[in-house]
Symmetry: C2
């Protein structure tokens, strides 16, 4: 689409620094990344070591690294960003959020997803894992924006147990979406998203998990976001924890991504480790809503995959994963009263490589075979001065780097942001639409 996307011959990208975000965390000064015509990386390393090529060679300068992975979002909630800010939790939900969200039309959601995708792409997020309804609009809007998405259509008691045809019908619906839209070699992957065990009950979660497992699809679920959300379930089930109940029902046997996972005891962490549950850690949302502190260092000790996520923009209030990179470490350090936990390298890895792992996608590392989802940072900025060692450069990326440094973004080798401008969406139009639709929602709901 854009000029610098690889054509039939692929392309070689040169940069002043290439950060591959592989396990060894290689930093190449004067690095090269070869992208094949199919949008995958063919080679990455020091430019001096690069094989001979006939492909066009594109000099980027700056720093090239993998695109960030946002492992848990409700992006269309861009439409209610900041609404009811400062109210107590239940008043916020019942008096503002639900009245507005209840009036969303499919085209509202399409525009919300579109604007949120622009926000993510421009800030360097190339993959998002979504939990929302209106799946057709989310898939279409994300596809047109060019972001890579794992779209997990939601199952919520108010929509699918209390009304409508029940969980079986919703499972069939999602299965249909999966079979029609799932495209692992493209940018759309479909998962299943039961909201939570406390909302749906254990049985329905297990049914949904079985349907996901049949298709090797991701099960994307909220677990243990707040301290008391499992209490009613525990009362009904002899005091067992939500992870224990889900595990006993077989719901954790497939590929599972658990958002939040704040209130877990040691036994719960052991269940995550033994079943291979991955965590979408949402530090900003957990802090802003006063939910609590996830035990991330203990998760990492147990080799649980921990990815980073913004959660929805109504509880953040933006979709800027750079904040999660810095704040995940800050929160872990102040909680442990220890400045050595969660290094710069670890939190950058959580936002890249671990995101790919958690979602089961070939992204998050600049290495052969993975998709060329890449971002370029402008490091000619005071935030990156001085550098006297590679370790300092890594520190600057984590602690001083931010969305403002992202200039260019590629998804599967296609450039979708150039010089800070999103090429795939008319951003001004998207802002206009979201603004006017939000005003209508506020007016109609009287909030």
């Amino acid at each position: 689409m854009a000029n610098s996307s690889p054509g039939a011959d692929g392309a070689r990208f040169l940069a002043d620094v290439v950060l591959t975000c592989d396990e060894a965390f290689a930093v190449f000064e004067r690095g090269a990344v070869d992208v094949a015509a199919d949008g995958r990386i063919a080679w990455a390393g020091a430019a001096a070591d690069a094989p001979a090529t006939d492909a066009p060679v594109i000099e980027l300068g700056g720093l090239l690294m993998p695109g960030l992975v946002n492992a848990h979002a409700h992006t269309p909630m861009t439409l209610v960003r900041g609404a009811g800010d400062g109210l107590p939790l239940m008043a916020w939900l019942t008096e503002v959020m639900w009245p507005r969200e209840g009036r969303l039309s499919p085209s509202d959601v399409w525009w919300g997803m579109t604007l949120g995708s622009v926000e993510m792409l421009r800030s360097g997020v190339t993959t998002t894992c979504e939990m929302y309804a209106f799946e057709h609009e989310v898939i279409d809007a994300g596809r047109q924006a060019g972001i890579r998405q794992v779209m997990c259509p939601g199952v919520l008691s108010v929509a699918h147990l209390d009304e409508g045809g029940g969980v079986a019908e919703r499972i069939a619906e999602i299965a249909g979406v999966h079979d029609a839209e799932n495209d692992p070699s493209g940018r759309v992957t479909i998962g299943f998203a039961p909201h939570s065990a406390y909302d749906l009950g254990i049985g329905p979660c297990a049914e949904i998990a079985a349907a996901a497992r049949e298709r090797d699809a991701l099960l994307h679920i909220h677990i243990a976001e707040t301290a008391d959300e499992g209490d009613a379930l525990a009362d009904r089930h002899g005091g067992a924890s939500v992870p224990r109940l889900l595990a006993d029902a077989g719901a954790l046997e497939g590929r599972v991504l658990a958002a939040h996972s704040v209130w877990l005891d040691d036994a719960d962490l052991d269940i995550y480790a033994s079943t291979g549950v991955a965590v979408a850690h949402c530090p900003v949302s957990n802090m802003k809503l006063g939910s609590g502190v996830a035990r991330v260092p203990e998760m990492i000790e147990r080799d649980i995959t921990v990815a980073l996520a913004t959660d929805g923009p109504a509880s953040n209030d933006d979709l800027d994963l750079w904040e999660e990179i810095k704040i995940a470490s800050l929160l872990a350090r102040v909680s442990a009263l220890d400045p050595t936990v969660m290094s710069a390298q670890q939190v950058i890895s959580m936002a890249t490589r671990s995101g790919g792992e958690a979602l089961g996608l070939d992204v998050g590392v600049l290495e052969p075979g993975r998709w060329a989802d890449m971002i370029r940072l402008d490091i000619d900025d005071v935030a990156f001065v001085p550098v006297t060692s590679p370790q300092e450069l890594i520190a600057h990326v984590a602690w001083s780097g931010g969305s403002r440094h992202v200039t260019d973004v590629w998804v599967g080798g296609e450039r979708v942001v150039a010089g800070g401008v999103c090429l795939t969406v008319d951003e001004a139009r998207a802002r206009y639409e979201v603004q006017h639709r939000a005003q209508r929602l506020a007016q109609e709901s009287g909030t």
Copy 2:
């Protein structure tokens, strides 16, 4: 200096939104701020209510608000940003930071202060309160950059008790700097900065406080940053806390700004309240170094003035006060497990009005008589969409706004940043100098 600075007739600035940050937190759509020839604000409010004027009228669009106040910084440490990242605290200090800082030349400090001032100005910080040595270089570099500064020359045991002429000589030195440089109607104010009671002892702190009080100058001191720093003092003084010991010695009787103030009990907070000590709260630094969580909501309940601060760039690692705005609230909420503590309005006020109060300067509010220290934000951005009420706009400034939205900055009516470019300093040269000087420090110190 720059075109839009008010000339002999002053100037009227119009903006789409004016946020005055006064106590009522007025938000004016289509607002006006009149700046007099002396650089002070003559009028602020709704454009429709503005008095007749012959002054030039300058249309800014966007959002105009007071410049941010960074209440505690060691800005020249820009030279060691990111150095030794990830090391345990004592190894970080003894193996990297002190060997590098010990080799700083006066001109190194001048360039560090220059580059840090550019970073602050471009991100919307118009006033900084400094604690550092090399006061002549800091004052000169800050003055040339055009930032408003409260420069508090430091007193440290290693420099002024163990070596040199002792505290009395250093007090005389600072007093001389005060008498020569203090210019309350200009941009340079001089304070006194004993490093801490645990470093200097109570007696020397009280002597320095008396010298500050004689001149009605600010006493700027670290108090209770880490859990155990007062233990040795307490052992020598019958278990009393540092605030108790300082209060009993009369050291808190003047204008006092206590940085950090993390480990305070109720009695300590009462001492702060009764003596009028103001706090420079450094949430990012306190988290990154694993120091702890300051009891800010309890401080505010007691009407203690709490300003926000970055601390030095070696423990942050940037000078971006927008991060403190968001993270101060996030940290307080997760600590209290309550999403209603520290509202958007409160944290913006801490970064503006409370900063002015803590430093005793006429800044931090757009109202008649205060200095025209102002910043313009570009709100034609997804971060500020949608807005269906003034409260939502305030929420966006706190939670989604950032240094990337700051386009123009005025200090005392003089424009020092235009379109994101610092007009007072050649930034590329400053980056070059800091980079090369940092490389020399790393090489000479073998770190």
